[in-house]
């Protein structure tokens, strides 16, 4: 054998442990899908969440039959859990594209082993988010009226309405995220096709791999397309939640009508999205033994993003309070005070505890390196962000301009069914994804092995 013709072996570069080769890293990740049998824990979680998913869909059928009256919404609080859940889920669905696109453009190497499952998380969360406005419609069977299509009524959507912008932003976001995810998957599907042992798997993965072979010209076009898709998805990350926030900010309701809303919503989206990445990554690396690829460095970096975005969220809360008082507008001042001391004050202070106080623990390296602590913090941040979305939606509506129009929102049993049912559906989709597709990008991990072996040279 000629000198220097051995395949490289990875060195420890923080985001990848030492000792991995092209072959071993490919087999490790591919075999999680191809040969690893589902354990009892997976089945238990799968059946539980399948039950929850069925409850979610049965509840939707009941909702369609009976109407939104099964929820606690009424005038004046006509937007309740459904819209809060929508904003919460679409926020969670932001980190995936942020990780895939923005961190790719910034050449952040800790992106490589977490982008695939974060993108999947994004797709599932954004898809579930898209369901809620439809569920919330009085006549959900007419949801397609939001689309411009030739119709006998000769009507068009109202282009000046944020709800129509929202439809376009979310439909585009879902489509582009799906394309980005699928293009990233292509080489890995080819790996699965070539490694699959049964005929059915060969055909199934072969069909979806579209005949990918990894030719040099193909890779050149692929890389160009991928890079530009990343560039295109980046403004989309900012656009989507900004447009969602305009659903509120364009209205003149006190507490909604604020220019801080777009950046406030985007920061909150990244905050909750990264918390959800941690929530998913921690069990994932443990159950599948992926500690060599999703290292302490990854958790540490994600925790730092959570910390930074928690400060942006804190700034937004402070700016909201400041502008409330600075405006000297009676209604803006009273809604601010109402949040501190009114009927929903316990939710407000719990939100501050979860979103602002708790993440400060992440200043300590020991906390960032402690897996159980990170898991608990990430869960509570998700809870806190849900409370934030709830407060945004409900607290402004329940104290409108006229005291005669004031009223309370009390969630009903069905409100909770839809919240927890959607969470079960999300987890179920994620479990199915883990069994069918590689949770980590195999092609990019091979490239990382190559890079780690050639650089440094020590």
């Amino acid at each position: 054998m000629v000198v220097g013709t051995r395949p490289p072996v990875s060195r420890d570069i923080g985001v990848l442990a030492a000792g991995w080769r092209y072959a071993s890293i490919s087999d490790k990740i591919a075999d999680l899908v191809l040969t690893r049998r589902a354990g009892w824990r997976w089945w238990l979680l799968f059946l539980t969440t399948l039950g929850g998913t069925l409850v979610f869909f049965s509840a939707s059928a009941y909702l369609f039959a009976v109407g939104v009256g099964i929820w606690g919404v009424n005038i004046p609080v006509a937007w309740g859990f459904a819209i809060g859940n929508f904003v919460w889920w679409i926020g969670i669905g932001h980190a995936g594209t942020f990780i895939s696109a923005v961190l790719y453009l910034l050449r952040q190497r800790w992106r490589t082993s977490i982008n695939r499952f974060a993108e999947s998380m994004t797709l599932f969360a954004a898809g579930i988010a898209g369901l809620f406005p439809i569920l919330h419609l009085g006549r959900p069977w007419f949801f397609y009226w939001l689309m411009p299509y030739p119709n006998v009524m000769e009507l068009w959507p109202q282009w000046r309405s944020p709800l129509v912008w929202d439809f376009f932003a979310i439909a585009t976001y879902l489509t582009v995220s799906l394309l980005f995810w699928y293009v990233g998957l292509l080489p890995d599907l080819a790996t699965l096709r070539d490694r699959a042992t049964t005929r059915f798997k060969r055909y199934a993965y072969g069909l979806v791999a579209l005949g990918w072979r990894g030719e040099a010209r193909h890779w050149a076009r692929y890389e160009h397309a991928y890079l530009l898709l990343a560039g295109l998805a980046t403004p989309l990350v900012v656009l989507v939640h900004s447009v969602v926030s305009l659903d509120f900010a364009v209205g003149n309701t006190p507490g909604y009508h604020s220019t801080i809303f777009p950046p406030y919503f985007v920061a909150g989206a990244l905050f909750s999205g990264f918390a959800m990445v941690l929530t998913l990554a921690i069990p994932l690396r443990r159950v599948f033994g992926l500690q060599d690829f999703i290292t302490a460095r990854h958790l540490d970096d994600a925790a730092k993003v959570v910390l930074v975005t928690s400060w942006i969220v804190l700034y937004s809360y402070a700016a909201e309070i400041f502008t409330g008082f600075y405006s000297a507008d009676e209604f803006d001042v009273s809604i601010t005070i109402e949040r501190w001391s009114g009927a929903y004050a316990p939710v407000y202070w719990s939100m501050l505890a979860c979103n602002v106080a708790l993440p400060q623990l992440l200043w300590w390296r020991r906390v960032r390196r402690s897996v159980p602590a990170l898991f608990v913090i990430s869960l509570l941040v998700n809870v806190g962000m849900w409370m934030e979305r709830f407060l945004i939606v409900v607290s402004s509506l329940h104290r409108d301009f006229m005291p005669s129009a004031w009223g309370m929102f009390y969630p009903t049993f069905w409100d909770w069914v839809f919240l927890f049912g959607s969470i079960a559906f999300f987890v179920w989709l994620f479990l199915v994804f883990l069994r069918l597709l590689p949770a980590i990008s195999i092609a990019e991990m091979r490239l990382l092995v190559d890079e780690s072996a050639t650089e440094g040279g020590r």
């Binding site: 282009w159 376009f168 579209l210 005949g211």
Partner: protein, 176 residues
């Protein structure tokens, strides 16, 4: 000389060998295809790939999405279904921007994916190289170079000699 031949395929162990093989085969006037399990920097140039039209395709897709999106809104609000709201302009362009931006990105992204696939000749159900069992490793850990047979045929002797010089582990004649 061998009609009915796709080419001569050779397997390599490392990126460096594949790059060297691609370069010297091209220097000798062969048409080379190089296969790798991950994108290799410089391999496109080594096999003589020029004129990547992806940026143009994506730009045109974005332009079509944006212009088409704005035109749709303008046409509906000004021509097809004008609504006078307190005398405000019918062509209220600031309100048309969110959907225009979204459709620009959508057009560019769809063009990127479809353009990439079509330019690469994908999707494709079968390929002559898939007949070679060991070619499965091209998506795992091995690097392959294929010297293509052209109309005039391929001088098998010299093609094999060149690939062997570059360190090929194994070679196959691939039927077309």
């Amino acid at each position: 000389m061998s009609p009915g031949l796709y080419g001569v395929l050779a397997e390599f162990r490392t990126v460096e060998e594949l790059l060297a093989a691609a370069r010297s085969a091209r220097a000798d006037g062969y048409t080379v295809e190089a296969y790798s399990p991950f994108p290799v920097e410089g391999l496109g140039e080594a096999v003589g790939f020029v004129g990547n039209r992806m940026p143009l395709i994506i730009f045109v897709g974005g332009l079509a999405g944006g212009a088409g999106g704005y035109f749709m809104q303008w046409y509906s609000a000004v021509v097809s279904y004008p609504v006078n709201i307190g005398g405000r302009p019918l062509d209220s362009w600031p309100a048309f921007l969110p959907a225009t931006v979204a459709l620009t990105i959508l057009g560019a992204a769809v063009a990127a994916v479809i353009g990439m696939l079509v330019a690469n000749g994908l999707p494709r159900l079968h390929h002559p190289l898939f007949e070679i069992h060991e070619f499965d490793l091209a998506t795992r850990n091995r690097f392959f170079a294929c010297l293509r047979s052209r109309r005039g045929g391929l001088d098998l002797e010299s093609a094999r000699a060149l690939l062997a010089r570059c360190g090929a582990m194994k070679m196959w004649e691939v039927p077309a």
